[in-house]
Protein backbone atom coordinates (compact mmCIF):
# COMPACT_ATOMS: atom_id res chain seq x y z
CA UNK A 1 0.00 0.00 0.00
CA UNK A 2 1.20 3.44 -0.91
CA UNK A 3 -0.08 6.49 0.90
CA UNK A 4 -2.78 8.30 -1.05
CA UNK A 5 -1.13 11.66 -0.37
CA UNK A 6 2.18 10.40 -1.75
CA UNK A 7 0.49 9.22 -4.96
CA UNK A 8 -1.35 12.51 -5.28
CA UNK A 9 1.83 14.57 -4.91
CA UNK A 10 3.62 12.49 -7.52
CA UNK A 11 0.71 12.63 -9.97
CA UNK A 12 0.37 16.38 -9.73
CA UNK A 13 4.07 16.83 -10.30
CA UNK A 14 3.99 14.54 -13.34
CA UNK A 15 0.76 15.93 -14.83
CA UNK A 16 2.26 18.77 -16.91
CA UNK A 17 5.23 16.62 -17.99
CA UNK A 18 2.96 13.86 -19.27
CA UNK A 19 0.74 16.39 -21.00
CA UNK A 20 3.76 18.07 -22.55
CA UNK A 21 5.08 14.77 -23.90
CA UNK A 22 1.70 13.87 -25.35
CA UNK A 23 1.09 17.23 -27.02
CA UNK A 24 4.62 17.19 -28.39
CA UNK A 25 3.92 13.78 -29.95
CA UNK A 26 0.41 14.30 -31.24
CA UNK A 27 -0.53 17.96 -31.17
CA UNK A 28 -4.09 18.72 -30.20
CA UNK A 29 -3.78 20.16 -26.72
CA UNK A 30 -7.46 19.85 -25.80
CA UNK A 31 -7.80 16.14 -26.52
CA UNK A 32 -4.45 15.34 -24.90
CA UNK A 33 -5.45 17.24 -21.78
CA UNK A 34 -8.63 15.16 -21.43
CA UNK A 35 -6.64 11.97 -21.94
CA UNK A 36 -4.07 12.94 -19.30
CA UNK A 37 -6.83 13.78 -16.84
CA UNK A 38 -8.30 10.30 -17.34
CA UNK A 39 -4.90 8.68 -16.90
CA UNK A 40 -4.38 10.62 -13.67
CA UNK A 41 -7.72 9.42 -12.36
CA UNK A 42 -6.88 5.82 -13.25
CA UNK A 43 -3.55 6.12 -11.44
CA UNK A 44 -5.15 7.77 -8.41
CA UNK A 45 -7.48 4.81 -8.02
CA UNK A 46 -4.96 2.04 -8.80
CA UNK A 47 -1.61 3.10 -7.40
CA UNK A 48 -2.51 3.38 -3.73
CA UNK A 49 -3.55 -0.31 -3.77
CA UNK A 50 -1.12 -1.77 -6.30
CA UNK A 51 1.88 0.41 -5.59
CA UNK A 52 3.55 3.01 -7.78
CA UNK A 53 4.84 1.51 -11.07
CA UNK A 54 8.58 1.51 -11.71
CA UNK A 55 8.29 4.16 -14.41
CA UNK A 56 5.27 6.21 -13.33
CA UNK A 57 5.74 8.80 -16.05
CA UNK A 58 5.86 6.13 -18.76
CA UNK A 59 2.80 4.41 -17.25
CA UNK A 60 0.81 7.64 -17.40
CA UNK A 61 1.93 8.40 -20.96
CA UNK A 62 0.96 4.89 -22.10
CA UNK A 63 -2.46 5.01 -20.47
CA UNK A 64 -3.13 8.55 -21.69
CA UNK A 65 -2.05 7.59 -25.23
CA UNK A 66 -4.46 4.66 -25.16
CA UNK A 67 -7.29 6.96 -24.11
CA UNK A 68 -6.31 9.29 -26.91
CA UNK A 69 -6.52 6.45 -29.44
CA UNK A 70 -9.89 5.34 -28.06
CA UNK A 71 -11.16 8.87 -28.28
CA UNK A 72 -9.81 9.24 -31.79
CA UNK A 73 -11.43 5.96 -32.90
CA UNK A 74 -14.81 6.83 -31.45
CA UNK A 75 -14.61 10.23 -33.10
CA UNK A 76 -13.82 8.51 -36.40
CA UNK A 77 -16.80 6.17 -35.98
CA UNK A 78 -19.04 9.09 -35.16
CA UNK A 79 -17.79 10.91 -38.21
CA UNK A 80 -18.51 7.95 -40.45
CA UNK A 81 -22.07 8.00 -39.18
CA UNK A 82 -22.37 11.66 -39.91
CA UNK A 83 -22.31 11.60 -43.69
CA UNK A 84 -22.25 15.32 -44.28
CA UNK A 85 -19.65 15.89 -41.64
CA UNK A 86 -17.49 13.13 -43.07
CA UNK A 87 -17.62 14.73 -46.50
CA UNK A 88 -16.25 17.90 -45.00
CA UNK A 89 -13.58 16.26 -42.85
CA UNK A 90 -10.14 17.67 -43.53
CA UNK A 91 -6.81 15.98 -43.04
CA UNK A 92 -6.86 14.27 -39.68
CA UNK A 93 -4.79 15.87 -37.02
CA UNK A 94 -4.00 12.57 -35.40
CA UNK A 95 -2.76 10.69 -38.45
CA UNK A 96 0.01 8.36 -37.48
CA UNK A 97 -1.43 7.59 -34.10
CA UNK A 98 -2.41 3.94 -34.39
CA UNK A 99 -1.88 2.31 -31.04
CA UNK A 100 -0.56 2.66 -27.53
CA UNK A 101 2.90 4.16 -27.50
CA UNK A 102 5.38 3.10 -24.87
CA UNK A 103 6.32 5.94 -22.58
CA UNK A 104 10.03 5.47 -23.16
CA UNK A 105 9.90 6.87 -26.66
CA UNK A 106 9.10 10.31 -25.24
CA UNK A 107 12.18 12.14 -24.06
CA UNK A 108 11.96 13.50 -20.54
CA UNK A 109 11.86 17.22 -21.09
CA UNK A 110 11.20 19.18 -17.94
CA UNK A 111 10.83 22.38 -19.97
CA UNK A 112 7.51 20.95 -21.13
CA UNK A 113 6.03 22.03 -17.81
CA UNK A 114 6.92 25.59 -18.67
CA UNK A 115 5.55 25.31 -22.21
CA UNK A 116 2.27 23.93 -20.85
CA UNK A 117 2.14 26.80 -18.34
CA UNK A 118 2.68 29.43 -21.05
CA UNK A 119 -0.05 27.82 -23.14
CA UNK A 120 -2.53 27.82 -20.24
CA UNK A 121 -1.75 31.46 -19.54
CA UNK A 122 -2.06 32.50 -23.18
CA UNK A 123 -3.19 36.12 -23.53
CA UNK A 124 -6.05 35.01 -25.81
CA UNK A 125 -7.79 33.54 -22.72
CA UNK A 126 -9.76 35.41 -20.08
CA UNK A 127 -8.28 35.51 -16.59
CA UNK A 128 -10.80 33.00 -15.21
CA UNK A 129 -10.00 30.61 -18.04
CA UNK A 130 -6.26 30.99 -17.49
CA UNK A 131 -6.67 30.22 -13.80
CA UNK A 132 -8.94 27.20 -14.36
CA UNK A 133 -6.82 25.67 -17.12
CA UNK A 134 -3.57 26.22 -15.23
CA UNK A 135 -4.92 24.45 -12.15
CA UNK A 136 -6.07 21.50 -14.24
CA UNK A 137 -3.33 21.08 -16.83
CA UNK A 138 -0.33 22.22 -14.76
CA UNK A 139 -1.63 21.64 -11.24
CA UNK A 140 -3.19 18.26 -12.06
CA UNK A 141 -6.39 19.09 -10.16
CA UNK A 142 -9.73 17.66 -11.25
CA UNK A 143 -12.51 19.89 -12.51
CA UNK A 144 -14.52 19.01 -9.38
CA UNK A 145 -11.68 20.14 -7.11
CA UNK A 146 -11.23 23.41 -8.99
CA UNK A 147 -14.98 24.05 -8.96
CA UNK A 148 -15.19 23.51 -5.22
CA UNK A 149 -12.17 25.76 -4.63
CA UNK A 150 -13.91 28.58 -6.49
CA UNK A 151 -17.36 27.75 -5.08
CA UNK A 152 -19.05 27.32 -8.46
CA UNK A 153 -20.92 24.28 -9.83
CA UNK A 154 -18.77 21.66 -11.54
CA UNK A 155 -20.66 22.17 -14.82
CA UNK A 156 -19.70 25.85 -14.79
CA UNK A 157 -16.04 25.08 -14.26
CA UNK A 158 -16.09 22.31 -16.88
CA UNK A 159 -17.49 24.80 -19.35
CA UNK A 160 -14.77 27.35 -18.54
CA UNK A 161 -12.07 24.75 -19.10
CA UNK A 162 -13.54 23.51 -22.34
CA UNK A 163 -13.95 27.07 -23.56
CA UNK A 164 -10.35 27.83 -22.68
CA UNK A 165 -9.22 24.87 -24.78
CA UNK A 166 -11.40 26.00 -27.67
CA UNK A 167 -9.80 29.46 -27.49
CA UNK A 168 -6.33 27.92 -27.62
CA UNK A 169 -7.35 25.90 -30.65
CA UNK A 170 -8.97 28.90 -32.32
CA UNK A 171 -5.90 31.04 -31.69
CA UNK A 172 -3.84 28.38 -33.49
CA UNK A 173 -1.15 28.42 -30.82
CA UNK A 174 1.53 25.80 -31.34
CA UNK A 175 3.13 23.84 -28.52
CA UNK A 176 6.30 25.92 -28.40
CA UNK A 177 7.84 28.34 -25.95
CA UNK A 178 7.01 31.99 -26.72
CA UNK A 179 9.72 33.70 -28.79
CA UNK A 180 12.40 35.49 -26.77
CA UNK A 181 11.01 38.95 -27.58
CA UNK A 182 7.59 38.05 -26.14
CA UNK A 183 8.90 36.10 -23.17
CA UNK A 184 8.95 38.88 -20.54
CA UNK A 185 5.36 39.92 -21.36
CA UNK A 186 4.13 36.34 -21.41
CA UNK A 187 5.92 35.56 -18.16
CA UNK A 188 4.12 38.52 -16.58
CA UNK A 189 0.79 36.92 -17.46
CA UNK A 190 1.92 33.60 -15.95
CA UNK A 191 3.00 35.32 -12.73
CA UNK A 192 -0.27 37.24 -12.58
CA UNK A 193 -2.26 33.99 -12.91
CA UNK A 194 -0.22 32.38 -10.12
CA UNK A 195 -0.77 35.46 -7.97
CA UNK A 196 -4.54 35.32 -8.60
CA UNK A 197 -4.59 31.68 -7.51
CA UNK A 198 -2.61 32.56 -4.39
CA UNK A 199 -4.91 35.43 -3.46
CA UNK A 200 -8.02 33.35 -3.99
CA UNK A 201 -6.66 30.89 -1.43
CA UNK A 202 -5.15 33.40 0.96
CA UNK A 203 -8.22 35.61 1.30
CA UNK A 204 -10.62 32.70 1.92
CA UNK A 205 -11.59 33.01 5.56
CA UNK A 206 -14.52 30.72 6.08
CA UNK A 207 -16.85 28.35 4.33
CA UNK A 208 -16.27 24.66 3.83
CA UNK A 209 -12.50 25.11 3.97
CA UNK A 210 -11.74 21.48 4.71
CA UNK A 211 -13.27 20.48 1.39
CA UNK A 212 -11.46 23.20 -0.50
CA UNK A 213 -8.20 22.58 -2.21
CA UNK A 214 -5.57 24.71 -0.60
CA UNK A 215 -5.13 27.23 -3.40
CA UNK A 216 -2.47 29.31 -1.65
CA UNK A 217 -0.31 26.24 -1.13
CA UNK A 218 -0.96 25.17 -4.71
CA UNK A 219 0.12 28.57 -6.02
CA UNK A 220 3.31 28.34 -3.97
CA UNK A 221 3.98 24.84 -5.30
CA UNK A 222 3.50 25.97 -8.91
CA UNK A 223 5.67 29.06 -8.42
CA UNK A 224 8.40 26.85 -6.96
CA UNK A 225 8.19 24.76 -10.13
CA UNK A 226 8.62 27.89 -12.25
CA UNK A 227 11.61 29.01 -10.20
CA UNK A 228 13.32 25.68 -10.80
CA UNK A 229 12.89 26.28 -14.54
CA UNK A 230 13.78 30.00 -14.50
CA UNK A 231 16.18 30.34 -11.56
CA UNK A 232 17.67 33.61 -12.81
CA UNK A 233 14.43 35.57 -13.05
CA UNK A 234 14.10 38.16 -10.28
CA UNK A 235 10.35 38.59 -10.59
CA UNK A 236 9.65 34.85 -10.24
CA UNK A 237 11.75 34.90 -7.08
CA UNK A 238 9.99 38.08 -6.00
CA UNK A 239 6.57 36.51 -6.45
CA UNK A 240 7.52 33.37 -4.52
CA UNK A 241 8.97 35.52 -1.73
CA UNK A 242 5.81 37.66 -1.67
CA UNK A 243 3.63 34.56 -1.39
CA UNK A 244 5.75 33.05 1.39
CA UNK A 245 5.98 36.28 3.37
CA UNK A 246 2.25 36.86 3.07
CA UNK A 247 1.23 33.28 3.76
CA UNK A 248 3.48 33.24 6.84
CA UNK A 249 1.00 35.58 8.55
CA UNK A 250 -2.00 33.40 7.84
CA UNK A 251 -2.31 31.76 11.30
CA UNK A 252 -2.60 35.22 12.88
CA UNK A 253 -4.83 36.97 10.34
CA UNK A 254 -8.17 35.56 11.48
CA UNK A 255 -9.70 34.76 14.86
CA UNK A 256 -11.29 31.35 15.43
CA UNK A 257 -14.69 32.89 14.63
CA UNK A 258 -13.44 33.95 11.16
CA UNK A 259 -13.15 37.69 11.89
CA UNK A 260 -10.14 39.54 10.49
CA UNK A 261 -7.22 40.76 12.61
CA UNK A 262 -5.43 43.82 11.18
CA UNK A 263 -1.68 43.55 10.72
CA UNK A 264 -0.93 45.88 13.61
CA UNK A 265 -2.92 43.72 16.05
CA UNK A 266 -1.75 40.28 14.93
CA UNK A 267 -0.01 37.97 17.38
CA UNK A 268 3.35 37.77 15.66
CA UNK A 269 4.36 34.67 17.60
CA UNK A 270 1.87 32.80 15.40
CA UNK A 271 3.64 33.75 12.17
CA UNK A 272 5.54 30.98 10.35
CA UNK A 273 9.19 31.75 11.07
CA UNK A 274 10.41 29.23 8.46
CA UNK A 275 8.41 30.80 5.64
CA UNK A 276 9.58 34.28 6.65
CA UNK A 277 13.20 33.15 6.69
CA UNK A 278 12.88 31.56 3.24
CA UNK A 279 11.05 34.58 1.84
CA UNK A 280 13.57 37.07 3.20
CA UNK A 281 16.48 35.03 1.82
CA UNK A 282 14.80 34.79 -1.61
CA UNK A 283 14.03 38.47 -1.89
CA UNK A 284 17.44 39.56 -0.61
CA UNK A 285 19.18 37.46 -3.26
CA UNK A 286 16.85 38.63 -6.02
CA UNK A 287 17.25 42.32 -5.15
CA UNK A 288 21.02 41.94 -5.15
CA UNK A 289 21.30 40.49 -8.62
CA UNK A 290 18.20 40.93 -10.78
CA UNK A 291 16.58 44.00 -12.36
CA UNK A 292 13.97 45.48 -10.03
CA UNK A 293 10.29 44.65 -10.60
CA UNK A 294 6.94 45.11 -8.85
CA UNK A 295 6.78 41.66 -7.27
CA UNK A 296 10.22 42.13 -5.78
CA UNK A 297 9.25 45.49 -4.30
CA UNK A 298 6.03 44.10 -2.83
CA UNK A 299 8.00 41.19 -1.38
CA UNK A 300 10.52 43.63 0.09
CA UNK A 301 7.66 45.54 1.74
CA UNK A 302 6.22 42.30 3.13
CA UNK A 303 9.69 41.39 4.42
CA UNK A 304 10.02 44.70 6.31
CA UNK A 305 6.65 44.05 7.99
CA UNK A 306 7.51 40.44 8.80
CA UNK A 307 10.89 41.32 10.27
CA UNK A 308 9.44 43.69 12.87
CA UNK A 309 9.17 41.91 16.22
CA UNK A 310 6.32 44.23 17.25
CA UNK A 311 4.04 46.43 15.13
CA UNK A 312 5.60 49.56 16.63
CA UNK A 313 9.07 48.36 15.54
CA UNK A 314 8.07 48.46 11.86
CA UNK A 315 10.54 50.40 9.73
CA UNK A 316 7.95 52.68 8.11
CA UNK A 317 10.47 55.03 6.42
CA UNK A 318 11.82 52.04 4.51
CA UNK A 319 8.30 50.91 3.59
CA UNK A 320 7.47 54.43 2.41
CA UNK A 321 10.59 54.52 0.23
CA UNK A 322 9.62 51.17 -1.31
CA UNK A 323 6.07 52.38 -2.03
CA UNK A 324 7.50 55.47 -3.72
CA UNK A 325 9.51 53.23 -6.05
CA UNK A 326 6.51 50.94 -6.62
CA UNK A 327 4.31 53.92 -7.44
CA UNK A 328 6.88 55.05 -10.01
CA UNK A 329 7.39 51.74 -11.81
CA UNK A 330 3.95 50.11 -11.43
CA UNK A 331 1.60 52.65 -9.92
CA UNK A 332 -2.13 52.02 -9.61
CA UNK A 333 -4.86 53.25 -7.22
CA UNK A 334 -4.34 50.27 -4.87
CA UNK A 335 -0.64 51.10 -4.59
CA UNK A 336 -1.54 54.72 -3.83
CA UNK A 337 -3.82 53.55 -1.00
CA UNK A 338 -1.01 51.63 0.67
CA UNK A 339 1.44 54.41 -0.09
CA UNK A 340 -0.90 56.80 1.77
CA UNK A 341 -0.89 54.60 4.86
CA UNK A 342 2.93 54.47 4.83
CA UNK A 343 3.14 58.26 4.34
CA UNK A 344 0.81 58.74 7.30
CA UNK A 345 2.94 56.47 9.50
CA UNK A 346 6.08 58.50 8.66
CA UNK A 347 4.84 62.08 8.20
CA UNK A 348 1.52 62.03 10.05
CA UNK A 349 -2.08 61.41 8.94
CA UNK A 350 -2.41 64.61 6.88
CA UNK A 351 0.32 63.45 4.48
CA UNK A 352 -1.68 60.26 3.86
CA UNK A 353 -4.98 62.11 3.47
CA UNK A 354 -3.38 64.42 0.89
CA UNK A 355 -2.34 61.41 -1.18
CA UNK A 356 -5.87 59.95 -0.98
CA UNK A 357 -7.41 63.18 -2.27
CA UNK A 358 -6.04 62.37 -5.73
CA UNK A 359 -8.04 59.13 -5.82
CA UNK A 360 -11.47 60.76 -5.49
CA UNK A 361 -11.36 61.71 -9.16
CA UNK A 362 -11.09 58.03 -10.11
CA UNK A 363 -14.70 56.90 -10.46
CA UNK A 364 -13.95 53.23 -9.74
CA UNK A 365 -11.93 54.03 -6.63
CA UNK A 366 -14.45 56.57 -5.33
CA UNK A 367 -16.96 53.71 -5.16
CA UNK A 368 -14.49 51.23 -3.68
CA UNK A 369 -14.79 50.48 0.02
CA UNK A 370 -11.02 50.42 0.50
CA UNK A 371 -10.59 54.10 -0.22
CA UNK A 372 -13.18 54.98 2.43
CA UNK A 373 -11.71 52.46 4.86
CA UNK A 374 -8.20 53.86 4.55
CA UNK A 375 -9.45 57.44 4.81
CA UNK A 376 -11.42 56.54 7.93
CA UNK A 377 -8.32 54.96 9.42
CA UNK A 378 -6.25 58.09 8.75
CA UNK A 379 -9.00 60.35 10.12
CA UNK A 380 -9.04 58.21 13.26
CA UNK A 381 -5.26 58.68 13.52
CA UNK A 382 -5.81 62.43 13.14
CA UNK A 383 -8.31 62.38 16.01
CA UNK A 384 -11.36 63.27 13.91
CA UNK A 385 -13.56 60.60 15.40
CA UNK A 386 -16.88 61.66 13.90
CA UNK A 387 -15.52 61.78 10.34
CA UNK A 388 -13.66 58.52 10.91
CA UNK A 389 -16.83 56.81 12.09
CA UNK A 390 -18.80 58.08 9.09
CA UNK A 391 -16.00 56.84 6.81
CA UNK A 392 -16.00 53.35 8.34
CA UNK A 393 -19.79 53.13 8.01
CA UNK A 394 -19.65 54.21 4.37
CA UNK A 395 -16.85 51.72 3.68
CA UNK A 396 -18.85 48.95 5.38
CA UNK A 397 -21.85 49.61 3.15
CA UNK A 398 -19.67 49.49 0.05
CA UNK A 399 -17.84 46.29 1.05
CA UNK A 400 -18.79 43.05 -0.70
CA UNK A 401 -16.82 40.84 1.67
CA UNK A 402 -18.62 39.72 4.83
CA UNK A 403 -15.53 39.61 7.09
CA UNK A 404 -14.33 43.01 5.82
CA UNK A 405 -17.78 44.49 6.39
CA UNK A 406 -17.85 43.05 9.87
CA UNK A 407 -14.42 44.53 10.63
CA UNK A 408 -15.43 47.98 9.34
CA UNK A 409 -18.73 48.01 11.23
CA UNK A 410 -16.75 46.98 14.30
CA UNK A 411 -14.35 49.93 13.93
CA UNK A 412 -17.28 52.30 13.57
CA UNK A 413 -19.01 50.85 16.63
CA UNK A 414 -15.83 51.20 18.67
CA UNK A 415 -15.63 54.91 17.86
CA UNK A 416 -19.28 55.38 18.77
CA UNK A 417 -18.85 53.53 22.06
CA UNK A 418 -15.77 55.56 23.11
CA UNK A 419 -17.29 58.88 22.14
Amino acid sequence: MTAVAEVEDLLRQLAPQVLGALVRGHGHFGMCEDAVQEALMAAASQWPGHGIPENPRGWLITVASRRLVDQWRSDQARRRREVTAAAMAGPDELTGLTGPVPGEQYPADTDDTLTVLFLCCHPALSAVSQVALTLRAVGGLTTAQIASAFLVPEATMAQRISRAKQSIKAAGVGFVMPPAAELPGRLNVVLHVLYLIFNEGYTATSGPDLQRVELAREAIRLTRAVIRLLPEDGEVAGLLALMLLTDARRPARTRPDGSLVPLAEQDRKLWHAGAIQEGVALISQALARAPLGPYQIQAAIAAVHDEAARAQDTDWPQILALYEILERIAGNPMVTLNHAVAAAMVHGPQAGLDLLAGLDADDRMARHHRLHAVRAHLLEMAGDRAAARAGYLLAARRATSLPEQRYLDGRAARLAADA
Binding site: T205, L260, S401, E404
Partner: protein
Protein backbone atom coordinates in the same frame (compact mmCIF):
# COMPACT_ATOMS: atom_id res chain seq x y z
CA UNK B 1 -27.00 38.39 -9.04
CA UNK B 2 -29.61 39.46 -11.58
CA UNK B 3 -33.04 39.86 -10.00
CA UNK B 4 -35.93 39.55 -12.41
CA UNK B 5 -38.97 41.70 -11.72
CA UNK B 6 -42.22 41.42 -13.67
CA UNK B 7 -45.95 41.86 -13.46
CA UNK B 8 -47.81 38.54 -13.68
CA UNK B 9 -51.00 40.27 -14.88
CA UNK B 10 -49.30 41.89 -17.89
CA UNK B 11 -47.58 38.63 -18.57
CA UNK B 12 -50.87 36.71 -18.62
CA UNK B 13 -52.39 39.22 -21.04
CA UNK B 14 -49.87 38.26 -23.71
CA UNK B 15 -50.68 35.71 -26.37
CA UNK B 16 -49.08 32.31 -26.28
CA UNK B 17 -47.04 33.23 -29.34
CA UNK B 18 -45.66 36.32 -27.61
CA UNK B 19 -44.79 34.29 -24.53
CA UNK B 20 -43.06 31.62 -26.63
CA UNK B 21 -40.96 34.31 -28.28
CA UNK B 22 -39.85 35.56 -24.86
CA UNK B 23 -39.04 32.06 -23.65
CA UNK B 24 -37.00 31.60 -26.82
CA UNK B 25 -34.97 34.71 -26.00
CA UNK B 26 -34.36 33.48 -22.46
CA UNK B 27 -33.28 30.05 -23.75
CA UNK B 28 -30.80 31.69 -26.06
CA UNK B 29 -29.24 33.82 -23.31
CA UNK B 30 -29.10 30.81 -20.97
CA UNK B 31 -27.34 28.75 -23.61
CA UNK B 32 -24.76 31.48 -24.09
CA UNK B 33 -24.19 31.86 -20.33
CA UNK B 34 -23.76 28.12 -19.85
CA UNK B 35 -21.32 27.89 -22.72
CA UNK B 36 -19.27 30.84 -21.51
CA UNK B 37 -19.00 29.37 -18.01
CA UNK B 38 -20.58 32.53 -16.54
CA UNK B 39 -23.78 30.86 -15.33
CA UNK B 40 -23.55 29.86 -11.68
CA UNK B 41 -27.17 29.26 -10.74
CA UNK B 42 -30.70 30.57 -10.69
CA UNK B 43 -34.36 29.81 -10.10
CA UNK B 44 -37.70 30.98 -11.33
CA UNK B 45 -40.14 31.74 -8.52
CA UNK B 46 -43.77 30.67 -8.31
CA UNK B 47 -46.35 33.46 -8.31
CA UNK B 48 -46.23 35.85 -5.36
CA UNK B 49 -49.83 34.97 -4.52
CA UNK B 50 -48.38 31.68 -3.25
CA UNK B 51 -45.98 33.49 -0.97
CA UNK B 52 -46.15 33.43 2.82
CA UNK B 53 -44.67 36.32 4.74
CA UNK B 54 -43.43 35.54 8.21
CA UNK B 55 -42.88 38.07 10.98
CA UNK B 56 -41.80 37.33 14.53
CA UNK B 57 -42.65 40.00 17.09
CA UNK B 58 -41.85 39.53 20.77
CA UNK B 59 -41.01 35.95 19.96
CA UNK B 60 -44.43 35.28 18.44
CA UNK B 61 -44.42 34.27 14.78
CA UNK B 62 -47.23 35.58 12.56
CA UNK B 63 -47.69 34.34 9.01
CA UNK B 64 -49.68 36.19 6.37
CA UNK B 65 -50.50 35.12 2.82
CA UNK B 66 -48.92 37.11 0.01
CA UNK B 67 -45.58 38.85 -0.57
CA UNK B 68 -43.75 41.18 1.83
CA UNK B 69 -44.08 44.20 -0.47
CA UNK B 70 -47.46 44.76 -2.05
CA UNK B 71 -46.69 45.92 -5.58
CA UNK B 72 -47.74 45.11 -9.12
CA UNK B 73 -44.18 44.15 -9.97
CA UNK B 74 -42.83 41.21 -8.02
CA UNK B 75 -39.58 39.29 -7.84
CA UNK B 76 -40.08 36.54 -10.39
CA UNK B 77 -36.73 34.83 -10.26
CA UNK B 78 -32.99 35.36 -10.18
CA UNK B 79 -29.85 34.17 -11.83
CA UNK B 80 -26.34 34.22 -10.49
CA UNK B 81 -23.60 34.91 -12.99
CA UNK B 82 -19.88 35.31 -12.53
CA UNK B 83 -18.59 37.90 -14.99
CA UNK B 84 -15.42 39.79 -15.73
CA UNK B 85 -17.06 43.10 -14.81
CA UNK B 86 -20.21 44.80 -13.58
CA UNK B 87 -20.62 46.20 -17.10
CA UNK B 88 -20.91 42.68 -18.46
CA UNK B 89 -23.55 41.78 -15.84
CA UNK B 90 -25.53 44.88 -16.78
CA UNK B 91 -25.24 43.92 -20.44
CA UNK B 92 -26.70 40.47 -19.71
CA UNK B 93 -29.51 42.02 -17.67
CA UNK B 94 -30.32 44.43 -20.51
CA UNK B 95 -30.86 41.52 -22.88
CA UNK B 96 -33.22 39.68 -20.54
CA UNK B 97 -36.75 40.30 -21.93
CA UNK B 98 -38.17 41.42 -18.58
CA UNK B 99 -35.80 44.40 -18.72
CA UNK B 100 -37.83 45.77 -21.65
CA UNK B 101 -41.22 45.51 -19.96
CA UNK B 102 -40.43 45.59 -16.25
CA UNK B 103 -36.98 45.71 -14.65
CA UNK B 104 -33.87 43.75 -13.86
CA UNK B 105 -31.83 44.60 -10.79
CA UNK B 106 -28.09 43.83 -10.76
CA UNK B 107 -26.71 43.21 -7.29
CA UNK B 108 -23.32 42.06 -6.12
CA UNK B 109 -23.27 38.96 -3.94
CA UNK B 110 -21.39 39.18 -0.64
CA UNK B 111 -18.48 36.79 -0.39
CA UNK B 112 -16.55 35.40 2.54
CA UNK B 113 -13.03 36.12 1.32
CA UNK B 114 -11.38 39.04 3.04
CA UNK B 115 -8.10 40.85 3.38
CA UNK B 116 -6.98 42.19 6.73
CA UNK B 117 -6.54 45.95 6.76
Amino acid sequence: MLLIYNNPATYQAWSEKERDALFGEVDEIMKELRESGEFVGGEGLADASNARTVRVRDGVPATTDGPFAEAKEQLAGYLTVECESTERAVQIAARWPDARYFAMEVRQVMHTAGTEM
